[in-house]
Amino acid sequence: MALVNTTKGEMDDSLLEKKEGFVDNDDEYTTWVEYWLDGELVHRSVHVQLKKSVVLSAATASFE
C-alpha cells in the first residue's frame, strides 16, 4: 500500500488504476506513470531522459 499524490490529494494506490509507458529512441528515453480513478486521470508523471549531447567541434585550419 502506498500513497499517490493525485489531483484529488493523497490517495491509496489500491484505489487507483495504474498505467505506465515509455518512449525509447535515439533522442530520449521517456517514461510516464498514470493513475486513473473511475476513468479520470488523477496523476501523471513524466521523466524525460535526454540522450543526445550538444557537441561543439573545435577546429583548426591547416597550413599548406
Binding site: T7, D27, T30, S45, V46, H47, L50
Partner: protein
C-alpha cells in the same frame, strides 16, 4: 514553429570570447526554460524568450536554475579523441506541464540573458504531477555539453 537542438551561434562566439564559464559548482546563473511546440528556437536564438514558453504547475517564467554537477573536464585523454565535457543536475517541476523542448541560457542580470543551447524532446511531454528533465550521463562521450 520548431525547436532545433544544438548550441546556439551566439554561444559559440561567446564561449570563445570568454563570456561563458562553467567552472564553478556554485554558479547559479545558468537556467533552463521549457517550451511548447509553438516556440521557434534554434541556432539563431540569442537569448531567453517568453514566446512559446511552457506554463503550469510549479513552472515559472524563466524556468529553473541549473546546478552544475560537473565542471569542464577532459575525458578519454588519448590524443585527438579526447573531449571536454560538463553537465548539470536533473531538474524537476510539479503540476500540469506540457513541453516540447528547452533552452539553456545564462542569466546576465538586469534582465539580460545569453542563450547556450536548445534541447528538443522529440515530441510533447505532458505531466499532471511531476515533470523531470534528466540530462545524459556525464561523460566525455555522452554529457549534455561537450567540445570534441
Amino acid at each position: 514553429m520548431s525547436l532545433t537542438q544544438g548550441a546556439t551561434n551566439s554561444f559559440k562566439v561567446g564561449l570563445a570570447s570568454g563570456d561563458f564559464s562553467f567552472d564553478s559548482l556554485v554558479d547559479t546563473s545558468y537556467k533552463i526554460a521549457l517550451y511548447t511546440g509553438n516556440a521557434n528556437l534554434g541556432p539563431d536564438t540569442t537569448a531567453y524568450t517568453t514566446t512559446g514558453e511552457a506554463s503550469g504547475g510549479s513552472y515559472v517564467a524563466g524556468g529553473a536554475t541549473l546546478t552544475i554537477t560537473q565542471i569542464p573536464t577532459l575525458g578519454n585523454q588519448t590524443g585527438s579523441t579526447a573531449a571536454a565535457y560538463w553537465s548539470f543536475a536533473n531538474v524537476t517541476w510539479t503540476g500540469a506541464i506540457t513541453a516540447r523542448g528547452a533552452l539553456i541560457y545564462k542569466d546576465l542580470g538586469g534582465g539580460s540573458t545569453a542563450s547556450v543551447c536548445v534541447l528538443d524532446f522529440g515530441s510533447d511531454k505532458t505531466s499532471v504531477n511531476t515533470f523531470v528533465v534528466q540530462f545524459p550521463t556525464s561523460a566525455y562521450n555522452t554529457a549534455i555539453l561537450r567540445i570534441a
